[in-house]
């Protein structure tokens, strides 16, 4: 075990830890937002017959990524509107007989980041008069999260692979000195597993040692962010994951990744020398 291999693990885990903290929070925020995303489909007044309403429903249903559909007759729509307006809404009760609203479907997308596309498709269905969904900014956020997730995952994978490569190389240098020893072990009939075992342990220790600084940094960083800056950056729907238990889960994750990286790199470094 060398300073440079511990350093490689530490650096990787620091970056991985920060990425993970950002990604998981972003994910959480998005999920909150996604829950509220719905498309309101208003029907033409001419669509009155049950069979017509059913046809529109089926057409909506056949669009890819549509999650759930709920029919909301105009009477219900009016009630909701009146409720939402409180006292002022009383005035609308006059409309009871000549309801100015339209029958509607409330559509929930299975994947919220496709809302725009789904809405466009619904717009094209005959008998649909109007399609409304959340503000465009919400869509932007959702799409941004999709990109962020993909890029973040790719970065984490790349980091992990780089670390494994670095570790296996630094260890390989020390192993070249042990090449003869490994040869002797094989000579007396040691199995590959038997020879690999110490390297497995070493890799595990490497992972544990390499996680100490990243865990300390990420936990204290998140603590500061959550308790001191929290009020400034948290809005209605932007809520950071609670420090407890998130910080601890993240620590475990970092430790786990560290151990995997350490063992992987370490065991990989012996592989070549086992082929005797």
């Amino acid at each position: 075990m060398t300073v440079s291999s511990v350093g490689a693990v530490t650096t990787t885990l620091l970056l991985v830890g920060v990425f993970l903290a950002i990604m998981l929070n972003l994910n959480q925020i998005t999920q909150e937002v996604e829950k509220d995303v719905e498309i309101k489909v208003l029907l033409d007044r001419t669509v009155e017959e049950d069979s017509e309403i059913n046809r529109v429903e089926e057409e909506i249903d056949s669009i890819a990524d549509v999650g759930s559909i709920e029919f909301s007759p105009k009477e219900e729509e009016l009630e909701r509107l009146i409720e939402s307006m409180g006292d002022e809404g009383k005035a609308f009760e006059l409309f009871d007989q000549s309801n100015p609203l339209k029958d509607a479907f409330v559509v929930k997308p299975a994947n919220a980041s496709n809302t725009m596309a789904i809405a466009d498709d619904i717009q094209g269905i005959e008998g649909v008069s109007e399609v409304n969904y959340g503000r465009e900014i919400v869509q932007r956020l959702l799409q941004f999260n999709d990109y962020a997730r993909t890029i973040g995952l790719a970065l984490i994978v790349a980091l992990v692979l780089t670390a494994v490569f670095l570790i296996s190389n630094t260890i390989k240098i020390t192993i070249i000195a042990r090449k003869k020893e490994i040869g002797i072990m094989k000579l007396v009939g040691a199995t590959n597993g038997f020879i690999r075992w110490p390297f497995f342990i070493e890799g595990m220790l490497l992972g544990i040692l390499g996680s100490i600084i990243p865990i300390a940094a990420v936990v204290s960083g998140y603590y500061y962010l959550y308790y001191n800056l929290g009020d400034k950056i948290q809005f209605e729907f932007i809520q950071l994951l609670p420090f407890d238990p998130f910080a601890w889960q993240l620590s475990l994750l970092i430790l786990g990744i560290g151990v995997v990286i350490g063992i992987w790199g370490s065991v990989m470094s012996v592989r070549k020398f086992l082929k005797v």
Partner: protein, 228 residues
């Protein structure tokens, strides 16, 4: 015990070390392998414990066909064969005791049995008093005795020695030879590649001479046959 049928060995670099070897060795024999440098003696012995694989032909050891032996079965084979080299091949950081015990640890022998058996072989090679020494603190002859002790600690049926006295002075060489003879007398087959005319001519055992990758001579109670 050992059966080779038209065995060829060409190394990846294109050098052909063995060119059609046919040899049969019985359980309990003592066999010297002689011949000029580069003739293929080491390659011949390395085929017997699957350190090398024949390019063509069959190598049977104890009824096991080494040409088709699965990679993961090699450790088991090696545990039944003792190997001794000119350069001893001891683990430098381990004591004499630990070096020998290592060959038993890999087969997961119980600590109690390990201790008993290691002391036995240390007695056999007359090194009981140096059990705690590390290889660097021993003379060449003593190191070779440790490597012999390690080779026989598993009770192998076959002991292969590639120039075991190559680095030793004549007196020390004779010590080693008397230990190898004792091992052979107890029933272990011994195959020993050597350049020592003295030893071969005095011991008068079976001699297989290899020249240019072929068996040039195979005599019982043979002689070295080359200038020293």
């Amino acid at each position: 015990m050992i059966e080779m049928q038209s065995v060829y060995k060409t190394y990846p670099n294109g050098v052909t070390a063995l060119n059609g070897i046919d040899v049969h060795i019985e359980q309990g024999e003592f066999v010297y392998v002689v011949g000029p440098s580069g003739a293929g003696k080491s390659t011949f012995t390395r085929l017997m414990f699957r350190e090398e694989k024949p390019t063509k032909g069959t190598v049977l050891v104890n009824g096991v066909n080494l040409s088709s032996l699965k990679e993961r079965k090699i450790p088991k084979l090696r545990r039944q064969i003792g190997v001794v080299y000119q350069d001893f091949r001891l683990l430098p950081r381990l004591s004499v005791y630990e070096n020998i015990a290592f060959a038993l640890e890999v087969i997961e022998e119980s600590p109690k049995n390990i201790k008993k058996r290691v002391m036995e072989v240390l007695d056999q090679v007359r090194l009981k008093n140096k059990a705690r020494f590390i290889p660097d603190e021993l003379s060449g002859g003593e190191q070779q005795r440790v490597s012999i002790a390690r080779a026989i600690v598993n009770h192998p049926k076959l002991l292969i020695a590639d120039e075991p006295t190559g680095n030793l002075d004549p007196d020390t060489s004779w010590e080693i030879m008397s230990i190898l003879e004792e091992i052979n007398a107890a029933g272990t087959t011994v195959v020993m590649a050597t350049h020592s005319k003295d030893i071969v001519d005095k011991m008068r055992k079976r001699v297989i001479a290899i020249e240019d990758g072929l068996v040039a001579r195979d005599e019982h109670r043979g002689e070295y046959g080359y200038e020293a």
